[in-house]
Subunit: 189 residues, 2 copies
DNA sequence: CTAATTGTTGACCATTCAGTCCGTAATTAC
DNA sequence: GTAATTACGGACTGAATGGTCAACAATTAG
């Protein structure tokens, strides 16, 4: 009968996710991951075959959380415009409290998507899920409910605005610029 | 009398820029840089004190080129809307020919801005220059010429859209989505 | 108790990393 | 020719890297 694991795999993954989110794939050393999790890397190698697998698991976890959050916000009451306002207000609120950590998905896209096939696949699939969610929300309000082309166009713009604001946040753009971009994006719905 | 340098420093920097753009700071090894430039790294260490300095020089070069290009496009004939259309059409054209390399500035923002003070300063200053250029262009057309608040808001949105599309491009978003986002951003001017 | 199984620990490994060292090279001034 | 200066080439350095190894540990079944 096997010896039971003494750590919680999900908890460990949450710590790992923070390290990869902040440092990127190459910048996050296994030593840093050991420190963040309080585990010996051999314990992690029991769960995952290599560093890339740990990275992908962490990214998957992040995307899951981010989409769940977006879903909650975009499933709220009101028109599509109001719901997107809530989503973008969330970005403003993060910047207001000095949170400049940005978005792990954006990081993975710019950092690894063109360098590693598996990361590319995961990033690409994640974008599809975001698009689907944005279009679904828009489809619940006029005129996007009836006009498929307008819905697709606006979903595209909102996605670009969302990711762009994430980049600008990490790039230390002033709060007024982040607010301007977020509010203007919502105003155009 | 000193021995003259046998390579062109600007040419070397262009090669270095490509390596850093593609691989990021951590992922670009000095060995890869040697290979790309055809120089021994000791020759580069004659020009720059360390890897970070090389990286910052490469990023500066990129920003200079990108802003010069944007300046050329945004200084063209027509309304602000038409000029931005040209700029965003450029992004579409890159995607159309399969160029998914994205934007080194975006990469630096998401990758290094929160990890290294000098990179953060350069990235932040670069964003200011982009914003200034976008606002200047908008100020040449109605109603942005007269309405400072609208100008700032639209500049913010266009910046977010621009950077967001860069991220989506690198994230392998489908061409139709990139087109939708770019065209909708311009349509909102 | 032993056997089987997986988990933990810490040492170990070969390679890679950014940077350094030093002999040789190229150029001009004298 | 020598001297002075910076450039080039390739070897070298200590540390860091992702991953492996093997002894010991924890658990249950029989």
């Amino acid at each position: 009968m096997a010896r039971p694991r003494t750590f919680d795999a999900e908890e460990a993954l949450a710590s790992v996710m923070s390290v990869f989110w902040r440092n990127g794939f190459e910048g996050a050393s296994m030593q840093a991951i050991e420190t963040a999790t309080g585990l010996n890397k051999q314990s992690l190698y029991r769960l995952f075959p290599d560093k890339r697998s740990i990275y992908l698991a962490a990214l998957s976890r992040y995307v899951g959380e981010e989409l769940a959050h977006a879903d909650a916000v975009l499933s709220g009451p009101g028109s599509a415009k109001q719901r997107f306002a809530s989503l973008f207000d969330g970005l403003i609120a993060l910047a207001e409290k000095g949170d400049r950590s940005g978005c792990f998905l954006c990081n993975a896209a710019t950092d690894q998507a063109q360098l590693d096939e598996k990361t590319k696949t995961l990033v690409s699939a994640s974008l599809k899920r975001v698009e689907k969610k944005f279009r679904k929300t828009l489809a619940q309000s006029h005129p996007y409910a009836e006009d498929l082309q307008r819905r697709e166009a606006m979903a595209g713009l909102l996605m670009a605005a969302y990711f762009g604001i994430r980049v600008m946040t990490k790039a230390n753009a002033p709060l007024r610029l982040i607010k301007a971009a977020a509010n203007e994006a919502v105003a155009k719905i």
